[in-house]
């Protein structure tokens, strides 16, 4: 995206052409949440089954979950930022409901931003589990 576009009126802006990929951006935030969730679940399951035993400490598994969370939150943050930039393209506020390529572009950015927000919170929720629970029991 070109930042210099921000101050131009709509008719002089040109939104990037629609690509099939544009829709995928929506799924990045929740996709990262899903991968983070699965990794946490699998790590804890394998750790408790194969390493620490049912009465063992989570120990390094908690650290791993922390690491996943950090990476996931950065990923979601970047996706959200990208969404925000798209949403702020030119001069327009939601609901982004004009039949222009620009509003379509802004709408997808706005939805990406909102989904990233939800994914951020949901990822934190999951990560908090290892703050409160320390063993495999």
């Amino acid at each position: 995206m070109n930042e210099r576009n921000d101050d131009l009126p709509d008719e002089e802006l040109e939104a990037p052409p629609a690509r099939w990929g544009s829709l995928w951006l929506l799924t990045f935030g929740p996709g990262i949440w899903a991968i983070h969730f699965l990794l946490c679940y699998v790590t804890a399951a394998v750790w408790c089954a194969k390493v620490a035993g049912r009465t063992g400490l989570l120990g390094d598994a908690s650290l791993l979950v922390g690491l996943y969370t950090l990476v996931a939150l950065v990923g979601i943050g970047l996706t959200g930022w990208r969404g925000y930039r798209q949403h702020r393209f030119g001069h327009a506020d939601p609901p982004h409901d004009f039949d222009t390529a620009e509003d379509r572009y802004r709408f997808l950015g706005y939805s990406t931003l909102l989904l990233s927000g939800l994914s951020f919170v949901a990822t934190l929720f999951v990560a908090l589990s290892v703050v409160f629970i320390e063993t495999c029991e």
């Binding site: 629609a18 690509r19 099939w20 544009s22 829709l23 929506l26 799924t27 929740p30 996709g31 949440w33 899903a34 969730f37 946490c40 679940y41 804890a44 399951a45 394998v46 408790c48 089954a49 194969k50 049912r54 989570l58 598994a61 939601p94 609901p95 982004h96 409901d97 039949d99 390529a101 509003d103 379509r104 802004r106 709408f107 997808l108 706005y110 939805s111 909102l114 989904l115 939800l118 994914s119 919170v121 949901a122 929720f125 999951v126 908090l128 589990s129 290892v130 409160f132 629970i133 063993t135 495999c136 029991e137």
Partner: protein, 843 residues
């Protein structure tokens, strides 16, 4: 809005329009007499589908009333324990599989094309096939109770109850009957995804699509990931029941918990698969009632997509009491709390819309208000049971019964009732009575709460669900009696609703057009409507075109938009681009046929005969189903048009044929294979689940299928894959010899690959009945072999198509789709080989 009748026309124009209408009417004509049942048009199939789903709903409702009668007083003997078990199992299974999910598919097939200003969905015959599978499977499953043969294990069929402690064929009826119906769901998912993405009217960019379409898109994608794990689970389960492969038998290394995982990976998203489309109806009704655009369109998209994702991280909250590590429970508890956020967001959006506009009171809005009230209560108890320690107490008690009914009846049945009242004029041009609607609502609303509110307390007092009776004097007597009374009041409301739907309305006047003054395209329909759907496909510039685009109705009626005519006498609709709704193709959709009915009957045979261990008739049916489907594909798909392109109106000329990623068939293949991959991933999950949970799962490399044969199979299979792609390349360049040679070689390599893959476990003497390890290896091999078999048929089909002149260098849909299939085939093969041959070496 202007009515077409008030538009001044010159006589020539009127004549031209009349001629157009006549030409348009011809191909869209509904078949008459007994041939009526060969119809595939969305308005007919959608109506049948909705009706049959309601019949199943009434059936399951009657079962519920029988159960409530039995529980009205303590120590009652109205139903025997056996019958009671069958009743609650079928009640749950039918409500979920034969009503909850199908009703949304049915509704969507009925109204989605209208909402999108399309003439039909892209694969009408697939919808018809799905419908017939649904009817046959549904009758089979429901009918079993009349022979005392219905399943008794509850709608989630937990082993070992259903393996070691169930006599008779009940579990097989459930497993095979419902697997068969899941085909219908997957077919609908393919249809609806492609429908939403590709059959929108020109100009309807992704930021303008009706919210209903957003929800349907999300839900259809969820089906692709949620139903296949259950199909995989059904496969393992039936292999255990029919052939003694011990997937869930702990004495031979199996684990009943795997079923619970696979079932709930399906089962929890399923709740949202049922809920989201119903809430989508609310998202259509509320703006109309408020006479203003929805508040927070983007937020609702967030809610739909967000719920779709997070609902896949909740499945273990049905398994909190199975003894999994606390940390695992915590992850799922956290996700279960998180899903309340998007769920709440959409409800706030609806409330905000209602408050911001002038909320017109009507029967649909009454049902919507009731739905929100009930659903919010169910959602709150949901947040309670998502907290693991609370769930430990409430698990398997009537508290959960109360919770799930509040969620499903509030989140689904009431919105559906609202939808029936709201959309009824679209089906026959008449409106339902306001008075009886109010009666129905109040009886249902009051009856529901009287029936289910006390169940929270019966549950907290300790009454377990699924018991056929209870002793007197435990404090449960009055609460149960009240619940029973409530259930009958509720049923009275449903009866009134039903009577109002079926009551003949011949003498009543037709409803005015757009009776609710709605803003979305489905209300372009004439009362009564023509079977072509929309007179001409409009150019869309707004989320609520009927409100914002002046003169739209008149222009549509006058045929001033796209495809106002059917010069060639064919059924046609527009295909547009995914994001911006640019017109890309004029798609010819097939007309009435009995082929899909035959295909469904034979597919049904292939699923139903094995219930009685009649494997030969099942095999014959499977082969016949294969031929029926091939015949259907041969005569009805990828037809070469008589000319490359046509004028679709407004000076636009579009191609009549597109292949590769531009064709809807390619998308259907892609979507189907995503679903296929998620079933395969579930089987692989099973392998690693056993490895994680049981230390003795892997018997050591020597006892496995070895690396040699699987590796040879992978080499041969990848060779076949490369040759298929080469054949596609040769076909495109019209290199006929190269095309035939590479396909013939690919076919040979496919056969050789299958033999080599089979040889691995066969030559190493793996017996699937001895232990879960050989069974798991065999099931992965069998899955891959089945896919190789399908791949071989596809290769030969392409040879035949080209030889018959039905596929050319330019018109190559078949070859493109087979090439796409082979990408997924290669992934399946490589993963199978890596898991069965490679993993034992690295583990």
């Amino acid at each position: 809005m202007t009515d077409s009748a008030t538009e001044p026309f010159d006589p020539d124009d009127r004549e031209r329009q009349k001629a157009q209408e006549q030409r348009l009417r011809k191909p869209w004509e509904v078949p008459r007499g007994w041939r009526y049942w060969s119809a595939v048009n969305n308005s007919d199939v959608g109506l049948w589908y909705t009706t049959v789903a309601f019949v199943f709903f009434l059936f399951a409702g009657v079962l519920a009333l029988l159960m409530r009668t039995q529980l009205a007083v303590p120590e009652n003997d109205f139903l025997s324990a056996d019958t009671y078990n069958q009743a609650f199992t079928l009640h749950g299974s039918v409500m979920m599989f034969l009503f909850g999910v199908p009703i949304f598919e049915a509704f969507s097939i009925l109204i989605l094309p209208q909402l999108l200003g399309a003439r039909d969905l892209p694969f009408p015959r697939l919808s018809a096939y799905g419908f017939w599978c649904f009817v046959i499977g549904g009758i089979f499953v429901c009918g079993s109770i009349f022979f005392g043969a219905a399943p008794q294990g509850g709608w989630f069929m937990y082993p070992p109850l259903t393996t070691s402690y169930s006599e008779g064929i009940g579990p097989d009826v459930w497993l095979l009957g419902l697997s068969f119906i899941e085909i219908a769901s997957l077919a609908a998912a393919v249809e609806l995804i492609v429908g939403v993405l590709k059959t929108r009217p020109p100009g309807m960019r992704i930021n303008l699509i009706p919210l209903y379409a957003w929800y349907i898109l999300v839900v259809a994608v969820m089906i692709l990931f949620a139903f296949p794990p259950l199909i995989a689970g059904d496969l393992l389960f039936e292999m255990e029941r029919a052939f003694d492969w011990p997937f869930f038998d702990h004495t031979r290394g199996g684990d009943p918990l795997l079923w619970q995982h696979l079932f709930w990976i399906f089962g929890h998203p399923e709740v949202y698969i049922i809920f989201l489309p119903a809430i989508a109806l609310v998202a259509m009704i509320v703006p109309t009632a408020a006479q203003r655009p929805i508040v927070g369109y983007g937020w609702i998209v967030l809610a739909a997509v967000g719920t779709g994702f997070i609902s896949f991280g909740l499945w273990v909250h049905h398994m909190f009491t199975t003894g999994m590590p606390g940390i695992s429970l915590a992850f799922f508890s956290a996700a279960s709390e998180a899903v309340a956020i998007p769920t709440g967001v959409q409800i706030f959006c609806f409330l905000a819309t209602a408050l911001a506009g002038r909320f017109v009171k009507s029967v649909p809005t009454l049902f919507v208000s009731g739905a929100l009230a009930i659903f919010v209560l169910g959602g709150l108890t949901g947040v309670m049971v998502a907290v693991a320690p609370f769930d430990f107490q409430a698990h398997d008690t009537y508290f959960v019964v109360a919770h799930l009914h509040y969620v499903l009846i509030g989140g689904m049945l009431f919105p559906v009732a609202a939808g029936i009242y709201y959309f009824y004029p679209l089906t026959n041009g008449k409106q339902m009575s306001e008075r009886s609607g109010k009666w129905a609502f109040w009886l249902m609303f009051v009856g529901f709460n009287v029936a289910f509110l006390p169940m929270h307390f019966t549950g907290l007092l300790g009454m377990p669900r699924r018991v056929y009776t209870y002793p007197a004097g435990m404090g449960l007597d009055l609460l149960n009696l009240v619940s029973t009374v409530g259930a009958f009041v509720f049923a009275a409301g449903v009866l009134i609703l039903l009577f109002e739907v079926v009551r003949p309305k011949k003498n009543e006047p037709y409803s005015p057009r757009n009776p609710w003054s709605a803003g979305t395209l489905e209300w372009l329909a004439k009362m009564p409507d023509e079977s072509w759907g929309v007179r001409s496909i409009p150019l869309i510039k707004s989320r609520y075109p009927l409100w914002d685009q002046p003169n739209l109705m008149a222009d549509v009626d006058a045929g001033r938009f796209y495809l106002p005519d059917a010069e060639e006498g064919q059924r046609e609709t527009l295909i547009t681009s995914t994001i911006d709704g640019r017109p890309m193709q004029c798609l010819r959709v097939p007309g009435p046929t009995f082929q899909t009915l035959w295909a469904a009957i034979f597919t049904g045979g292939a699923f139903i005969f094995p219930v009685y261990h009649l494997y030969l008739p099942a095999l014959v049916c499977a082969v016949l189903a294969g031929f029926a489907i091939l015949g259907w594909l041969w005569t009805g798909t990828a037809m070469i048009p008589e000319k490359p392109q046509k004028d679709v109106g407004l000076g636009l000329t579009l191609p009549l044929y597109a292949s590769g990623p531009k064709s809807v068939g390619w998308w259907a293949m892609f979507i189907t294979m995503i679903g296929d991959m998620s079933a395969f991933a579930s089987l692989v999950f099973g392998y690693f689940f056993f490895w994680t949970v049981h230390d003795d799962f892997l018997p050591g490399p020597a006892a496995g299928p070895g690396l040699l044969w699987p590796a040879i199979a992978a080499g041969l299979g990848l060779g076949a894959w490369a040759l298929t792609l080469l054949a596609r390349h040769c076909n495109r360049r019209d290199q006929v010899l190269g095309f035939y040679l590479s396909l013939a070689l690919a076919a040979l390599l496919t056969v050789a690959c299958s033999v080599a893959l089979f040889a691995g476990p066969h030559l190493s003497g793996l017996d699937p009945t001895t232990h879960v390890y050989p069974a798991t290896v065999w099931v992965l091999v069998l899955w891959t072999l089945l896919h190789l078999g399908a791949a071989l048929i596809m290769l030969l089909y392409c040879v035949a198509r080209r030889a018959a002149g039905r596929m050319t260098a330019e018109y190559d849909i078949d070859m493109q789709n087979v090439g796409l299939y082979w990408h997924f085939m290669a992934i399946t093969l490589v993963v199978t080989v890596a898991v069965i041959g490679g993993f034992p070496r690295v583990a």
